[in-house]
Symmetry: C2
Subunit: 115 residues, 2 copies
DNA sequence: CTAATATATGAACAGTTATTCATATATTGA
DNA sequence: TCAATATATGAATAACTGTTCATATATTAG
């Protein structure tokens, strides 16, 4: 290639290749972002931002069927985005940690959304 | 439902429904996260974290075919994650803003990845 | 133990998305 | 203008992901 900045970019590319995270780590990060990249799951997260809730109330807050919400909750949980604890007959879900809230807020800021 | 915290959760659900962002905003946030949720695209972002590069060097840094990288770049660009500028025969790509870097770093922290 | 309620899950289908291949466009140098 | 290089893109196929339906598991009340 005849890039004007050939030498500089060549160096950048070499550094990038050298510092590229492992496939496994890339995969984990990708999976985490994918977990929060579907409208239904995002709704669940925005809802849980108001406080912990059991499935019944999450369904009430975000709409959709119990089955669909439950499937999505499993995905969120398996990716460490939300955590669940049993409370009698119910399972109460909440956001896993502040990172999740921070991610949501960063994205909203980036996109000039009001929260 | 017979949730112990019925009254409290009921209130949380109502607040969540009331403060739920518009479908359109949810969609934008979801699309943005989806844009950065594929391994190939993440690699591109991690690479660009080292500095701007033209397509040729990005391909060198992340591997894969020119065509595939180009397709992914288009997706990243159309979602405002990276920006492109022409420089002679080349198109030089760079991360759109600090939010992108912050998102990557937050995710890595959350997942206990080294960066 | 049985009935009722809350939540989870497997399988199938539908819609979406990534990759590849071939080709198009744009820029530069001769 | 022509050849060469860099990048982009349309179409087709293959892989993935969400939703639904039916059903399973777990907990509590009686």
């Amino acid at each position: 290639m005849r890039c004007e900045h050939g030498a500089l970019h060549e160096e950048t590319a070499a550094r990038a290749a050298k510092n590229m995270p492992q496939e496994e780590e890339i995969g984990r990060v990708a999976a985490a972002f994918k977990a929060i990249s579907e409208p239904c799951r995002l709704k669940i997260l925005f809802a849980l931002r108001q406080g912990e809730m059991c499935v019944f109330h999450i369904v009430q807050a975000v709409g959709g069927t119990q089955s669909a919400v439950s499937h999505q909750l499993r995905i969120l949980r398996s990716h460490g985005v939300v955590r669940a604890r049993r409370d009698g007959q119910n399972i109460v879900y909440s956001l896993a940690d502040e990172h999740v809230v921070a991610l949501l807020e960063l994205a909203c800021t980036h996109l000039h959304c009001k929260l």
